[in-house]
């Protein structure tokens, strides 16, 4: 069962080479049973073991192989700068759309949370409640750490506010009495959560002299519902456009594989594993993904710079100090990571399809 005994040394070398060979192949393309022939022969044929210098496939040489292959893949892209740039731009546009949407949504979210974002609480007191109880309630509310502002509106003031509204001037006069209750308006502190506010409302409801407590939070809830929906939409858009990126990279890599068909054939004939053959193409996909992600960041930042002026105007109208904040490092990191992952996926799908043709039948 001796195989190629003139070769015994190299096969012994091969024993050490094996793990690296597997690693050199990305994922499933690497031969799983790589080099098991090698084991058998290494045992039976020791002669000539010193004749050849061993190929020490250390982490170092594996690293240098990957560095070399990735460098070659990049220089291949740079050889056709226009075509590569167009492809990368396509990827960048697909990346920048969901990121833009995400940035805008998170900005509006910040806006909703900080700027007058808390609902008002209106406490309607019982009719004819004594001034002493009113003062006591106001003092209670002032002491509560979750309440920032307390405003008392007497029935008389309520009437005068009411009468200022167009068309309602005579309504109260015709009634002949003042139907309005005393109202205490509370503005919760910004750090108070909805749950805390709900608790407060129940607590206030039970206080002496209180008729009804209203928490005006509908508009905040609506805004947040819309924002949640938009956020989901951004994610979905991200998913669809991510698929686009994978397809673009897959197609580009496929074209590259077609143009290097002869090279692949030769490498395959002199014993290159699928992993070895796929490596340059996978690096090509990774480069496209990374360049696309970086370009997408450039696009997003340029658009935000243009938009920030408009945002300032809008914020001014709402008496807000709001400034447009860009995507955080986490978003940029995720973008870069998706670039790499999509690049690998796109390239691997093309390689996988092509490798079906390399199997003998």
């Amino acid at each position: 069962m001796s195989l190629f005994n003139t070769n015994s040394t190299r096969q012994q070398d091969g024993r050490r080479q094996r793990p690296a060979d597997d690693k050199a192949g990305v994922g499933k393309f690497a031969g799983k049973n790589a080099g098991s022939t090698v084991h058998k022969d290494a045992h039976t044929h020791k002669r000539g073991a010193n004749r050849q210098t061993a190929a020490t496939l250390t982490l170092h040489s594996l690293f240098s192989l990957h560095r070399q292959v990735s460098k070659d893949a990049l220089s291949r892209l740079l050889k056709n700068p226009v075509a590569s740039l167009l492809n990368s731009l396509l990827i960048a546009v697909a990346f920048s759309l969901p990121v833009m949407l995400f940035v805008l949504v998170s900005n509006v979210q910040v806006l909703g949370a900080t700027w007058d974002g808390q609902p008002k609480i209106s406490i309607y007191l019982n009719n004819g409640v004594s001034q002493k109880i009113i003062d006591q309630r106001i003092a209670d509310y002032r002491e509560n750490p979750l309440i920032k502002e307390v405003v008392y509106i007497s029935p008389e003031q309520g009437v005068s506010d009411f009468q200022q509204k167009v068309g309602l001037q005579n309504v109260i006069a015709q009634l002949g009495f003042n139907p309005l209750p005393s109202v205490i308006e509370l503005l919760p502190a910004s750090e108070a959560s909805f749950e805390q506010l709900d608790d407060i409302v129940i607590h206030f409801q039970q206080m002496d002299g209180v008729d009804q407590v209203r928490l005006d939070r509908q508009w905040v809830q609506r805004l947040q519902a819309i924002l949640t929906m938009l956020e989901r939409f951004a994610l979905m858009l991200g998913g669809i456009l991510g698929l686009t990126v994978v397809l673009v990279i897959s197609n580009t890599v496929r074209l590259s594989i077609e143009s290097r068909r002869d090279e692949i054939k030769i490498i395959s004939m002199v014993g290159g594993t699928r992993g070895f053959i796929a490596m340059p193409f996978i690096y090509m996909g990774v480069w496209y993904g990374v360049i696309g992600a970086v370009l997408a960041q450039v696009i997003v930042f340029s658009l935000l710079t243009v938009l920030s002026h408009e945002i300032k105007n809008i914020a001014g109208l709402y008496n807000s100090e709001m400034v447009l904040s860009g995507p955080g490092f986490s978003v940029l990191g995720i973008l870069l990571l998706s670039g790499i992952v999509f690049g690998v996926l796109g390239a691997m799908s093309s390689c996988y399809r092509h490798f079906q043709a390399l199997v003998p039948d």
Binding site: M1, S2, L3, F4, N5, T6, N7, R10, D13, G14, Q17, A20, D21, A24, G31, K32, N33, A34, G35, S36, T37, V38, Q52, T53, A55, T56, L57, H60, S61, S64, L65, Q68, D262, E263, K265, I266, I267, S268, M269, V270, G271, G272, T273, R274, F276, V359, P360, D361
Partner: protein, 222 residues
């Protein structure tokens, strides 16, 4: 080293590549494979390298039954076989050095490790001075010798050559054949497909003759 047991290869559409071919090539032997074009020489070579699988019969290479060899292990089989082609099959965007270094790179040697071996192989075929050139700058004979250097750089146990002298003049052809003989003398098994009967006869080695896919003659060394 190579054993064929009743091997047939039929292609879809009914074309017969090989029909019931049986022979045994011992370790360290050198033999020629001749026959008219289309007789099945290339098919036989492809079966040994597992570029194609036989339709019937058993092919044994280096003690391995190729029928049971998994696809994922084919690269490791091929690393033990040096191949030379009529059309050289060089990579034209890489230098002579890089072309020869390819099998070593694939086997996991770093480029600094393999420099010595590449130069030794190039020295053997007399092209050491041209290592930095690109294949286009070389003549046909020189390109063939680069292919030869690439085939032997990994010190394979078996060398297959498919019409290695097809495009060369008689003098260059003889030189190439002498190189194959010298590899054989250090223990490498060599199988050369050629339709140049005069050259083959001159070399005085074992000759296997194919005709329409059948092995019609197996002449031992005279």
């Amino acid at each position: 080293m190579i054993r064929f047991d009743g091997v047939s290869k039929r292609y879809p559409g009914g074309h017969v590549g090989l029909e019931q071919v049986s022979f045994h090539l011992e370790r360290g032997e050198i033999a020629f494979l001749t026959g008219h074009s289309g007789a099945g020489k290339s098919t036989l070579m492809k079966l040994i390298m597992l570029l194609e699988r036989a339709s019937a019969g058993q092919v044994w290479v280096g003690g391995h039954n190729l029928r049971t060899l998994k696809n994922s292990r084919i690269p490791y089989l091929r690393r033990n076989i040096g191949v030379v082609f009529q059309d050289h099959q060089l990579l034209f965007d890489r230098t002579v050095f890089d072309n020869v270094a390819l099998p070593l790179l694939i086997a996991g040697y770093s480029s600094s490790d393999c420099a010595g071996r590449v130069r030794a192989a190039l020295d053997m075929v007399g092209l050491l001075s041209k290592e930095k050139l690109f294949p286009v700058a070389l003549s046909g004979g020189e390109q063939q010798r680069v292919g030869l250097a690439r085939a032997v750089v990994n010190r394979p146990a078996l060398i297959l050559a498919d019409e290695p002298t097809g495009n060369l003049d008689p003098q260059l052809s003889t030189e190439i054949m002498k190189l194959f003989e010298s590899f054989n003398q250090v223990g490498v098994t060599v199988l050369i497909a050629s339709h140049d009967l005069a050259l083959v006869a001159r070399m005085r080695h074992r000759i296997l003759t194919l005709d329409h896919g059948r092995l019609v003659a197996d002449q031992e060394v005279q």
